[in-house]
């Protein structure tokens, strides 16, 4: 059973648009939700993360919106750039447990 789901395998936006990547999860005990960015040939790297006590986390052009009641979250990439083209993984874990559960990823393409 997939504990973390990403609804889109791929997403294409134009440069300057806001890309929205969606994620949902099963386990209501999850309280930590990082998003990882992966470029081809590289390992995933932490982009931004949120804890369940917050409903929004912003870092530059990247914002996470979190809905605990609905058990979903989304990553918004404002003013998308071609350099943002990558695969984005939503992940989840809970306190005092090191394991991250990953979604299957969304491949974002930003067209110039």
């Amino acid at each position: 059973q997939q504990q973390v789901r990403q609804s889109s395998q791929s997403l294409t936006v134009w440069e300057g648009e806001t890309a929205i990547l969606n994620c949902s999860y099963e386990n209501s005990a999850f309280d930590y939700f990082p998003w990882y960015q992966q470029f081809p040939g590289e390992g995933p790297a932490l982009l931004i993360a949120i804890r369940s006590v917050s409903d929004k986390k912003e870092d530059g052009r990247f914002t996470i919106f979190f809905n605990k009641r609905e058990k979903n979250l989304s990553l918004h990439i404002k003013d998308s750039q071609p350099g943002d083209s990558a695969t984005y993984f939503c992940a989840a874990s809970w306190s005092n447990y090191n394991v991250l559960y990953f979604g299957s990823g969304t491949k974002l393409t930003v067209e110039p």
Partner: protein, 112 residues
């Protein structure tokens, strides 16, 4: 420079051969992980190690074993590799729970 290093980066093995994937980290992290990444499935946890000789199975441990004799090194062993173990394998480490997980660049293993 915080780093997780994986060797080798590419490997081709015949079915039935033994495979050793090596991983090192220079951050003195207690926790280390082995994940595999397959298209459409995201990253799946094979094993987690909480410290030297303190290893636990992840979600897909069958066909794999691990060894951690020094905090900075974590090995993944495939005894008698199978074609369905063709994948990209990522090693990762973290300081403790709910902190950033650092990934290596991956090892692309092909079993023919």
């Amino acid at each position: 420079d915080m780093k997780v290093t994986q060797m080798p980066r590419y490997l081709i093995k015949r079915m039935g051969e033994n495979v050793l994937l090596e991983c090192g980290q220079d951050m003195s992290h207690e926790t280390m992980y082995w994940y595999r990444q397959d298209p459409g499935l995201g990253l799946q946890l094979i094993y987690i190690s909480y410290d030297v000789d303190s290893n636990s199975e992840g979600d897909i441990p069958k066909g794999y074993r691990v060894s951690r004799k020094k905090r900075e090194h974590f090995s993944l062993i495939l005894d008698s590799a199978k074609t369905n173990q063709t994948s990209v394998y990522f090693c990762a480490s973290s300081r403790d729970s709910n902190t950033e997980v650092f990934f290596g660049k991956g090892t692309r293993l092909t079993v023919v």
